[in-house]
């Protein structure tokens, strides 16, 4: 996807825009989306750590983008998403999520995702989810 089209994808989603998300890469069932740390997204003021819900939103958007980039996809919606929080994201650091749509059936797409801050060797969170898979009707 050309860079402008990719950013259009984010700009078309008001909440993704509100969180300042940027689509870094997308294609063939894979997507990478990142967002900056922001004081407004903090969950625990004592630590300045970003709220888990903001990380969920990033993972959900990235998972949906991965499904939409799977060949033959027309539309998608999240059925369920489980997030495991490995560690607190370091305040001030950008968070990047990578999602992979690793299997699709006629109606369902299966996704796994990881998120990390600037220490890319230690994930902040991992996620697994099921999404609806609306496909182009085959002739």
């Amino acid at each position: 996807m050309p860079e402008n089209d990719a950013q259009d994808f984010i700009n078309a989603l008001p909440f993704a825009r509100a969180l300042g998300m940027r689509l870094d890469q997308i294609g063939e069932g894979h997507a990478q989306i990142s967002m900056d740390w922001d004081a407004r997204f903090v969950g625990d003021p004592a630590t300045g750590v970003i709220h888990g819900g903001a990380v969920s939103a990033l993972m959900d958007t990235c998972g949906g983008a991965a499904v939409l980039s799977y060949p033959g996809a027309l539309g998608t919606a999240t059925i369920d998403l489980r997030i495991d929080y490995m560690r607190a994201a370091t305040p001030g650091q950008r968070i990047t999520a990578r999602a992979e749509c690793y299997h699709v059936t006629r109606r369902v797409a299966f996704v796994r995702a990881t998120a990390h801050d600037e220490d890319s060797a230690n994930p902040v969170a991992t996620a697994t989810g099921a999404f609806t898979f609306d496909r182009k009707e085959q002739p």
Binding site: L13, D44, A46, T61, A77
Partner: protein, 167 residues
């Protein structure tokens, strides 16, 4: 026997403790989440706003907003339940709480079921602490819009409890 505390005093104490707890979470304010209280029962309210939309064609509330709303509700309910006895017995005052904010539970995992499309209108949620031990807690949250019985999302999460000195 001690005279019962005047009702306005009780309400003021509980409401200011809740306002301190919720006001300390910037992300809850960013989403516009408010809490209504009846006795110890909390209901979270998410007033609709345009920035919460994920799918502008339907339009539908973003799945990430729904997950965030449920997780904020779970953490506030769990913290509220954790602090309730200390606040009621006077071991903790709202003023002391504001000066030294309590540490919040940390999410270990959180699973959201998206049952129906989130419509562009207000949403409500209530959390139930199914188990709360010294270290770990399990919380279930339900969210609805127009009808309490027609949930549009639910979630279960596990949390690591903060260690409280006198708790």
């Amino acid at each position: 026997m001690k005279a019962p505390e005047p009702v306005q005093q009780v309400k003021h104490r509980r409401d200011s403790a809740l306002a301190t707890l919720v006001g300390a979470v910037p992300y809850a304010g960013f989403l516009g989440i408010q809490f209504e209280r009846h006795g110890d029962e909390l209901t979270a309210v998410l007033p609709y706003s345009e920035k919460l939309i994920g799918n502008p064609i339907l339009p539908a509330i973003h799945g990430g907003v729904i997950a965030s709303f449920l997780e904020v509700t779970a953490i506030i309910e769990l913290s509220w339940a954790m602090l309730w006895d200390e606040l009621e017995t006077g071991r903790l005052t709202p003023e002391a709480m504001a000066d030294n904010l309590p540490r919040l539970p940390k999410t270990i995992d959180f699973t959201v079921d998206y049952l129906r499309t989130g419509l562009p209108r207000d949403a409500y949620a209530r959390a139930r602490v199914n188990r709360s031990g010294r270290r770990y807690a399990s919380v279930h949250v339900e969210a609805w819009q127009d009808n309490r019985a027609r949930l549009f999302a639910q979630a279960t999460g596990h949390f690591l409890m903060p260690q409280r000195k006198n708790g």
